[in-house]
């Protein structure tokens, strides 16, 4: 406990780390306000830049991008009715109408304060929940891990974009991608087509850059000449005492909702903000104001989406199961830097883990200051012509992908997965399930193999393990629950 508190506090006395967090917060906000460039794309682009950093500094950079870009999406959501990130989509419902009424500064002030509260609350929960979950996870053996990854994959069905079936197909395709390369036990080459650079499998980093950054580039080409309406704003206003009285319950509720949604494997800030917004509306005494500039609507969405960032780090670090697209990249970052995600991280690397949590706390404070004093400036960045911005993204993508392994094959992978991601999205398939599937794929196969060895090839013995059964039931409910529920409701109505 003392080690954890010391590590948390040490962040605030480490000038280099503070500088990194400060610089990354600026980059994160810039990324967040640029439509199309969300936290996930930003983290994918920045990952290669962290190669020479220490593991703590590298993950702190990625976590800061996650936190600050998630918040910054609200700036453009309020000022130009274009959410900088998908997590800020719900903020446009009331943020832009309030801005059009000449209260853009007030809308941004509410968004900044709610986001900070949600973010800080979720990091505090993270500090307490992660070690507790790690204690439970110590008991996990391969059958439990196998069931847990199946649960994680089943939760892909509810990732926001695309339908459940499409998301599952994407997830299965991602798991298949993880089988490319030499098989772990027998060293038999699978789907390598004689290319020995693929011996250890597809690199996570180029696939992520391709799926998130390069496919987004192709998607953005459709709106290359679109003009935006910009709402003028004098300065960001701190919420008044009346505003606080009106929103405090919403902020508390949405922080709880966001943290909980974030903890669920494969759920993220977008889902959290939508639920946070709808719950704010459901509990509000002024429902008629929603959609017309309700400050409760802004607070509900913003507290929830930033709370989800801390929540999503819990399964990522404790179980090695990413809670969102961005945490999938943070997970890759952990692996690239030699930190093995899982419960043992909390015994072997306690100090580093709490320094990462402390960095997230510091990032929340930094974006509070920048949100209050520089939001207007950041908002103007969103007016950079995309005919200049996206070629820069192209350059960063290909150089970043090459940098990790100095391999030209990785550039091919970026380009190919960019095109795959573009066509997938065109037909309504989200790319995040493919990325999560790729990351979890090895875990599924290895734990299935180990379970089979433990049970002497009798796979059904997995169902004799209570925890494994618990996760498999959750997976079943996650997949079939909505259909069963709809059927029951229909039956009752009939």
């Amino acid at each position: 406990m003392i080690e954890a508190i010391t590590a948390l506090g040490s962040v605030f006395f480490d000038p280099y780390l503070l500088f990194l967090i400060f610089a990354t917060t600026i980059i994160g906000i810039v990324i967040g306000v640029l439509p199309g460039l969300g936290a996930t794309t930003g983290a994918a682009l920045l990952l290669p830049f962290t190669l020479t950093m220490s593991p703590v500094h590298a993950i702190a950079v990625l976590a800061t991008i996650y936190v600050s870009a998630t918040f910054a999406g609200s700036i453009t959501a309020i000022l130009i009715n274009t959410p900088g990130t998908s997590a800020a989509a719900a903020t446009t419902f009331d943020g832009f109408p309030l801005a059009q009424r000449g209260q853009a500064g007030r809308a941004l002030g509410i968004a900044v304060m709610s986001s900070t509260f949600g973010g800080v609350a979720s990091v505090i929960v993270l500090c307490f929940a992660a070690p507790l979950l790690a204690r439970v996870a110590y008991e996990f053996r391969p059958p439990e891990y196998f069931a847990l990854t199946i649960f994680g994959l089943s939760m892909l069905a509810s990732i926001s974009a695309g339908g459940a079936v499409k998301n599952l197909i994407g997830g299965v395709f991602g798991v298949w991608l993880s089988t490319i390369g030499a098989e772990r036990v027998t060293a038999i080459e699978r789907f390598m087509f004689g290319n020995y650079e693929l011996y250890e499998g597809l690199g996570f980093v180029p696939v992520m850059i391709g799926l998130f950054a390069m496919s987004e580039l192709l998607v953005q080409s459709k709106i290359a000449n679109q003009a935006v309406e910009f709402v003028k704003m004098k300065a960001v206003q701190l919420p008044s005492r009346e505003d606080y009285k009106k929103i405090w319950k919403t902020v508390l509720r949405s922080s709880g909702i966001g943290t909980f949604i974030g903890i669920l494997p494969a759920e993220g800030a977008t889902v959290a903000s939508m639920i946070g917004y709808s719950e704010a509306k459901r509990w509000s005494k002024n429902k008629e104001e929603f959609g017309k500039g309700s400050i409760e609507g802004i607070a509900g969405a913003e507290a929830a989406n930033n709370a989800a960032t801390g929540g999503a780090m819990v399964p990522t670090m404790v179980l090695g199961i990413p809670g969102s697209g961005t945490t999938a990249i943070i997970l890759v970052g952990l692996m690239v830097h030699g930190l093995r995600p899982g419960p043992y991280l909390f015994t072997e690397q306690v100090y580093s883990v709490y320094q990462i949590f402390g960095s997230m706390l510091a990032a929340n404070i930094m974006f509070l200051l920048m949100g209050l004093y520089a939001a207007r400036l950041f908002a103007r960045i969103s007016l950079i012509p995309i005919s200049l911005l996206w070629p820069i993204v192209f350059a960063l993508s290909v150089i970043g992908a090459y940098a990790l392994n100095s391999s030209l094959l990785d550039i091919w992978i970026v380009l190919i997965f960019g095109v795959i991601g573009f066509f997938a999205r065109r037909f309504g398939f989200a790319v995040a399930p493919i990325a999560v599937g790729l990351i979890l794929g090895k875990m599924v196969e290895v734990n299935l193999q180990n379970s089979l060895k433990i049970f002497h090839g009798e796979w059904w013995q997995i169902f004799t393990q209570p925890l494994a059964v618990f996760f498999l039931i959750l997976a079943f409910l996650g997949l079939c629950g909505p259909a069963i529920f709809a059927w029951i409701v229909k039956d009752r109505k009939a």
């Binding site: 499409k166 036990v185 192209f394 150089i399 100095s406």
Partner: protein, 153 residues
């Protein structure tokens, strides 16, 4: 229902069948190595069978509720894809940074940038600074080519 709306399911079915075929061509490992575990081909085949089942469900969903046909892909998007191929060709044949600069410049113009000087400055300065950052700070060696040969000596 038009056949066009079933393009994704047809494509997914074909891909799954091709992968199953390729998996069946994989070598079998001796039982003493595999032990109680499974053959390397088993897991990919299981995944693709699962994919075929999910694709069948998707085909039924599309049949019952056909989705809105996506808008045709714009010329600008096709041109961007062509530029990606051009980038790779230039990287392999001339130099990675020549490829990046040329493609960045052309991409800016294709995407509607009218000021050629701005596009040119962006195409030259961005790769230059990114190169310096990766070379000096991150110590990354880039592939040999026209410019890198001159720089590395």
């Amino acid at each position: 229902m038009s056949i066009k709306s079933q393009i994704p399911t047809i494509f997914l079915t074909l891909i799954s069948l091709v992968i199953i075929y390729l998996a069946l061509q994989l070598k079998l490992s001796p039982p003493m190595i595999v032990g109680d575990s499974m053959q390397p081909r088993a897991f990919p085949i299981f995944l693709m069978v699962l994919n075929l089942i999910l694709t069948a469900v998707l085909a039924i969903q599309i049949y019952r509720n056909p989705p809105k046909e996506p808008a045709p892909i714009l010329r600008i998007t096709w041109l961007t894809m062509v530029l990606m191929v051009l980038f790779y060709a230039l990287t392999v044949s001339i130099d990675m940074f020549v490829g990046i600069s040329v493609v960045m410049f052309l991409m800016s113009l294709v995407w509607g940038q009218r000021n050629i000087l701005v596009a040119l400055a962006n195409a030259i300065l961005t790769p230059f600074f990114v190169f310096l950052l990766f070379d000096m700070v991150l110590r990354i060696r880039f592939p040999r080519g026209l410019i890198t040969n001159w720089y590395y000596g």
